[in-house]
Amino acid sequence: MSHSHDMDMPDTVTSTEASPTGALDGEYDDAMGYYTPGEPLVDTKAPQGPIADRWQNRKFEARLVNPANRRKLSIIIVGTGLAGASAAATLGEAGYNVKTFCYQDSPRRAHSIAAQGGINAAKNYKEDGDSVHRLFYDTVKGGDYRSRESNVYRLAEVSTNIIDQCVAQGVPFAREYGGLLDNRSFGGVQVSRTFYARGQTGQQLLIGAYQALERQISAGTVSMFTRHEMLELIVADGKARGIIARDMVTGEVQTHLADVVVLASGGYGNVFYLSTNAMGSNVTAAWRAHRKGAYMANPCYTQIHPTCIPVSGSHQSKLTLMSESLRNDGRIWVPKNQADCDKDPREIAEEDRDYYLERIYPSFGNLVPRDIASRAAKNVCDEGRGVGPEVDGVRRGVYLDFADAIDRLGRDAVANKYGNLFDMYARITGEDPYSVPMRIYPAVHYVMGGLWVDYDLQSTIPGLFVTGEANFSDHGANRLGASALMQGLADGYFVLPHTIRDYLADGPFEPIGEDHPAVVEARTSVTDRIQHFLSVNGTRSVDSYHRELGNIMWEYCGMERTETGLKKAIDLIRGLRDDFYRNVKVLGTSESLNQSLEKAGRVADFFELGELMCIDALNRRESCGGHFRGESQTEDGEALRHDDEFAYVAAWEWAGLDERPVLHKEDLVYTAIEMKQRSYK
């Protein structure tokens, strides 16, 4: 393909060498000048052979550690969500010495708890044609052919064990009258493979993992550090050997050393400030590891969910998701005329309403995939036809109207199906969705990108493993509904415990002391950073910077990305970051609970991540999954993928602040599946 390009480079970047992308001479790349091409990533440790045998073979080949040696080996796990708590419990049961860290007051608070819909597993209890291979196929296809097939197959393979394990723990899944487990269909797939516990599946699974973890804490195999935040990774003699953590209550900066470190620290959706993530969800653990040599893969892949409750004012601190099952019966519309946007929707005549999804996508209507529904909502609001309160001069909301459904089915039937969601909506907005149409707007929900890991879930730093949303491996460019819980528990219960033993078989490694140069360096960088934030004494709060960064990311690296917008965003982020370091105001001391100080460190890392996300999005001049490039669409405005150019994982290496990151490509090769372009027309 040939494109015309704006060749202006930002001031901070020097001119580029010939053939800077590593591509054929004469070809361009939108991100030229923002990065340095690096060597391809060729060894993913994915086993060869028939795909169905790979995991069995890897488990067999992974060396064992005998039980007597396990207690001499120490493991640090950061994060206690599904991926962290399940790994900590399992490795504790196996007899290793485990230390686990979370920033909340209890491991049970981790944000896995907020997942609503369910967990997929290829049990085929409905005898409807499901199988491990079909779950594998659906996941690769749903990820728009941007995930590594060996990893995804393994995920589908161990999915069935997860359900067995959770039931044995006492997770109260929904059941049928015969006493067996109920399943439902979820996220547009044609089989019923989703296990659920009403609308609180994440909560029940996390409590199961949490209880297993607490059992090991009681048994003495796991030490739990709550209200502790990892602020630096210790890499000594080429291996991850520990972390620097801050006790958030006393402010003490602590060194924790181990033979191996696992990050299960979740996703970074809060780079957008407003998201459905928890307030404390952050990228710091992963980003600190990235700065120490762990590659960050596909950071631009973000999932934006179409059915969230809109922003009500500039005070908004987070967004709340409502199940997208609402789109089964609700009709989405906005007024045809801008003049009607502040009217009572019930007084807007039928002919003055634009049911835009039904109009543009007559065959799928309101049930188009998440990304299409989200983008269409943004477009009508950008046109000035949004509804609800004006925030910063724009109305960002569209109606989701149940009037027809109530006429057709009756109020009681609608209440039976959606009662709890209607109640939640009413509590947050103060409006009654039975009589006034709901207002919805898309929100950032999940990130598919994360630290690059090989088949063993090991990062590019030996001895640093990454699990759950924090890694990149299983969802490609888009995650299917009910698959986040599956991946978190697959990694923690059934994958990591096998792969980590192969690494630990070489341990225990030579002990290092607090005086090791790598430890001293890590500690110093943490204390210097804390001192810096406390000493700036500027004029703006941390939150005000975070909000502004979020606006930039949402505007230019959100639902639709363009070359011009992304380049502008990079400039804006760099400017804002400089101002932050000079002008942020953090009061108080480091010797006590100081929530502004905690946030300052997280926002500082979000600046650097945000810039890399924009560079990654700039480089990927194709539309795939959750990543939509304005320049890469069909005549009908559909996403257009370019497998010839972009069937790779973009793994970015940190090169230093204000240095150009290095791009390493891992080619995606499919042997068990054929790549296809999707269509919803």
């Binding site: 049961e93 049970r108 944000h111 067995d164 044995a168 059941r175 908004q316 709340t320 509590r427 609970l593």
Partner: protein
């Protein structure tokens, strides 16, 4: 709306605390209660005064991290979590009193933040099924009657926020404990450890300094997940049975 806020300030666990009064103008009825405190904190930060520390995380009513005594009620006037309480539940000109959870077993860490580690230690004492990863039987090998599964789910929705303790005149965690004992006691997987579980959890509860149940029912009235009072009957029944079995 304009509000007068009386808020408990306490620099750390060992220092004495006191109520401080703040004025906050232009509060939107659409704000959540915690967003109202965010706005106050921005104002304090601008004025050079240390922002008020309070806990919250998911802000959608499920993680259990938030929890404040608002005008003397745990989580305030509605049956919900503090993060899901909105300012439209208050009126212009109102004075609102905000305190941390009241309980000896939940010591104050700073301002409105308390230490609920005692809840984790109660779970450590027995709030689990002992099943190692990989040793589970096939999920359909043990059917569970739907009514039992549904009821187990209902009581398993406890979010561990501590409102029950804060509301109780005797600082009891019986509702929290009863919910877990009932959840696991209703399922076949919970039977082998049933006696031991309740005995050990109750012993830990008492050791932590929580009080005994005094049959008031303030706990269930304050519970944002509406855990019913009869889980405490189940708790007592399980304890009596375990003692009869010689525990």
């Amino acid at each position: 709306m304009n509000l007068t806020l009386k808020i408990w300030r306490q620099p750390d666990a060992v220092s004495a605390g006191a109520m401080h009064t703040y004025e906050l103008a232009d509060v939107s009825p659409d704000m959540s209660f915690l967003e109202m405190l965010d706005v106050l904190n921005e104002q304090l930060n601008d004025q050079g005064e240390d922002p008020i520390a309070f806990d919250s995380d998911c802000r959608e009513g499920i993680c259990g991290m938030c929890g404040l005594m608002i005008n003397g009620d745990a989580h305030g006037p509605e049956v919900t979590t503090t993060c899901q309480l909105h300012m439209r539940s208050f009126s212009d000109g109102e004075t609102i009193t905000i305190e941390p959870w009241r309980s000896d077993a939940f010591p104050v860490v700073k301002d409105l933040v308390v230490d609920r580690g005692a809840f984790d230690r109660i779970i450590q004492a027995g709030g689990y099924v002992s099943v190692n990863t990989g040793s589970a039987p096939e999920a359909h090998s043990v059917p569970v009657p739907k009514d039992d599964a549904d009821r187990a789910f209902n009581v398993a929705t406890c979010i561990g926020c501590g409102a029950c303790v804060a509301a109780c005149p005797n600082g009891s965690a019986s509702l929290f404990m009863g919910a877990k004992v009932t959840h696991l006691g209703l399922l076949p997987q919970g039977q082998p450890e049933r006696d031991e579980r309740v005995v050990n959890m109750v012993a830990q509860h008492d050791h932590e300094g929580f009080g005994g149940c005094t049959n008031i029912g303030a706990c269930t009235a304050a519970c944002p997940k509406e855990i019913p009072l009869d889980v405490i009957s189940q708790l007592n029944k399980d304890l009596r049975t375990a003692i009869k079995h010689g525990h």
